[in-house]
């Protein structure tokens, strides 16, 4: 019985050792924003990899900058040395699709440096896919609809003018 228990204990220790060794790689695969938000306490102060589109504007604050990364669910702020992001050319807005980047850094649930923000302090940044100017094909259907609406509006105004004219004549008689 005792040996069995010792055996068990050994196994546990071994398992922990193994976990400890591979620990830095556990979060090597990218973690989604949903996962990060829903399990913020578990990931707090850990090194994680996060991936998404750079959106909005790059907010330069001296040697560091804020970039906001959207992975289609949530957008998370990333605090990064300005020199690391000089290769980012596109940030996402209506007219452009921002660069898709991979961020590796420390995740904070309530960052003490940034007034409690949920953020990532990046150590490495890798551009996965360049952004582009979005193209907007002209929507012919909508233009046809506009023509129909203009016809309706004018005929309506005509009817009203005729109606008022007849009314005025009726009053005169």
């Amino acid at each position: 019985m005792i040996t069995l228990l010792q055996n068990f204990r050994k196994k546990i220790i071994l398992l922990f050792l193994l976990l400890f060794c591979i620990y830095p790689f556990i979060y090597a695969q990218t973690i989604s924003s949903t996962e990060l938000l829903n399990n913020a306490t578990d990931y707090d102060n850990k090194v994680i990899t996060y991936e998404g589109e750079v959106i909005g504007d790059i907010l330069k604050r001296g040697n560091y900058s804020w970039i906001n990364i959207d992975d289609n669910n949530f957008t998370i702020g990333v605090w990064v040395e300005t020199s690391l992001i000089k290769d980012i050319t596109f940030t996402g807005n209506y007219k452009t699709e921002g660069d898709q980047i991979e961020v590796r850094g420390i995740f904070h649930k309530n960052c003490s440096q940034h007034g409690g923000d949920l953020d990532i302090h990046a150590n490495e940044i890798r551009i996965i896919k360049k952004g582009r100017i979005r193209d907007f094909p002209l929507q012919i259907g909508k233009i046809k609809f506009i023509v129909i609406l203009i016809i309706i509006l004018f005929s309506q105004i005509m009817i009203l003018v005729i109606k008022n004219f007849l009314k005025a004549r009726l009053k005169k008689q």
């Binding site: 938000l37 829903n38 913020a40 959106i55 605090w79 209506y94 409690g116 929507q139 609406l149 105004i157």
Partner: protein
């Protein structure tokens, strides 16, 4: 006996409704011009379509419902209630055409949330929405805050006595100047002065915090409009967290507080009566309410020690609290964090703050501080009656621009309103619970909708049940209009069915 409405009643209502709709069509020109300036062709097309539909409806209503009679109280109330519904259906068209909404219902939800200055949102991929559509989201908050019908009427007709009835219907019971149209103009002038000042300050802060000039101006104007009109929309999906800026948060706190103050008080202060702010029953109640409820919320936050530092306590704890109390709905945390990080007590604090709101004749929704103040005064008077000898004669006063003698009718109407609002809050909570959401979260979201706040603890999502979306739309509508005009509309419909 209930009187069945006549054709003439429908005509009067239709005529005024038509005028409001035309007014709405006119303001749609502003995002259209913006789209053309910025070269956003498809958004411009969306606004042309919406504009044409709005004008066809408006001109049709006015043209076929021509009348030469002044509206009665009933007509005014019904016009207001219907105008807000029409504004929702029409204001939702450009949003729906943008392709950023899952359904027309979602865009209606967004439009009502905008007009009623709530701030709950169902937009998808907001970060790629065009400037024109995004401006429209913020602009409808500004229009809704001022009052849709008043906005339309103050430009389309002058000096009609009918306007006053609609002014009351939009939950603005006090006139600043004897004439309603001039009151509406004062409200517009005050708002525009603040708009220029406030957006300039926000633009400068934005530039200072690293936004390029074009964005700084756009964000400055949009954030000012939704902060001052206590709405809560923001141009980016992260809401205020997007800016990562302490100064942006400080400035928005100040604008939110300005927005929670009665317009009559703004006018008094701007015309030189500075002491009014320290004497007025509304500001005094608001002050004590903020302190008391923030103490409750703070204890709640201390329970699980979420924000141990003073700065984060202020930027996360106090910010969401002020946003809740002024009925704005700006957030510097993710909705999910309310559920995961905030204790029950802290959430209850936020719910109480949301349920009270700011001043009457401001753009905040909810019960409003004057009613809370009056009920406390009434309670005090009743206790005095018991303690003092029966022969003692006393009269209490309260100060609201001038000294007013406290009468039972004041207390009665205040109590009735509080009762109605609580009913509305619980109604929405019950519906959400029917769909399996937990009690506290249901109450949080429902209060946020009915009190026109806009903070979310995660229930408001594209995937939530359609019935719940409709429930929140109703709550936002009824809550913004303070019941009377909506009840009149229901009564009118009932009379049309049952009357003789």
């Amino acid at each position: 006996m209930v009187l069945k409405p006549q054709i003439i009643d429908l005509k009067i209502i239709g005529n005024y409704l038509g005028r409001t709709v035309i007014g709405l069509g006119m303001v749609m020109c502003i995002p259209l011009i913006l789209a053309l300036i910025l070269g956003e062709i498809n958004p411009a097309i969306d606004f042309v379509i919406s504009l044409l539909i709005t004008f066809i409806l408006g001109i049709g209503l006015v043209g076929f419902c021509s009348i030469d009679r002044e509206p009665r109280w009933m007509h005014g109330m019904i016009v207001v209630a219907l105008s807000w519904l029409f504004a929702m259906f029409l204001g939702a068209i450009p949003l729906f055409l943008s392709g950023h909404y899952g359904s027309y219902l979602d865009s209606c939800f967004e439009a009502m949330s905008g007009f009623a200055t709530t701030g709950l949102t169902l937009v998808q991929d907001l970060n790629h929405l065009s400037y024109a559509h995004n401006f429209w989201r913020h602009f409808i908050m500004f229009i809704g805050g001022q009052g849709i019908v008043i906005m339309a009427l103050s430009f389309l007709i002058s000096g009609s006595s009918g306007a006053f009835k609609m002014y009351i219907g939009e939950a603005r019971e006090e006139k600043i100047l004897p004439n309603v149209v001039s009151t509406a103009k004062v409200i517009w002038i005050v708002s525009l002065v603040y708009l220029i000042l406030g957006s300039s300050i926000l633009t400068i802060v934005g530039l200072f915090e690293g936004l390029p000039l074009k964005s700084a101006i756009f964000h400055g104007i949009c954030i000012f409009m939704t902060a001052f009109d206590t709405g809560g929309f923001s141009p980016q999906s992260q809401n205020i967290l997007y800016y990562h800026s302490f100064y942006y948060e400080i400035v928005t706190i100040m604008i939110m507080l300005l927005g929670a103050i009665n317009f009559k008080l703004h006018y008094a202060i701007l015309t030189g009566n500075r002491r009014e702010i320290f004497k007025n029953i509304e500001t005094v109640t608001l002050f004590f309410s903020i302190i008391l409820i923030f103490i409750i919320t703070s204890f709640g936050l201390k329970l699980n020690n979420q924000y141990p530092q003073v700065v984060s306590f202020f930027r996360k704890g106090f910010y969401q609290f002020i946003s809740a109390h002024t009925g704005t709905g700006f957030a510097t945390i993710y909705s999910e964090q309310f559920r995961s990080d905030w204790s029950t007590l802290a959430l209850v604090g936020i719910i109480i703050a949301m349920s009270i709101g700011g001043s009457s004749c401001s753009t905040t929704g909810a019960i409003k501080t004057i009613r809370v103040g009056l009920i406390f005064k009434g309670l005090k008077q009743n206790i005095k009656r018991i303690i003092l000898p029966e022969s003692a004669v006393f009269s209490d006063k309260f100060h609201h621009i001038k000294d007013i003698i406290l009468e039972d009718k004041h207390i009665l109407s205040a109590t009735l309103m509080v009762f109605l609002y609580f009913g509305l809050y619980f109604f929405g909570a019950l519906v959400a619970m029917l769909f399996g959401y937990p009690f506290l979260e249901s109450l949080f979201e429902s209060t946020s909708a009915a009190a026109n706040v806009g903070l979310s603890c995660g229930i408001t999502k594209v995937t939530m049940p359609a019935v719940l979306k409709i429930t929140y739309i109703l709550q936002m509508w009824i809550g913004r209009l303070e019941f009377t005009s909506v009840f009149t509309l229901f009564g009118f419909i009932l009379a049309a069915i049952k009357g003789k």
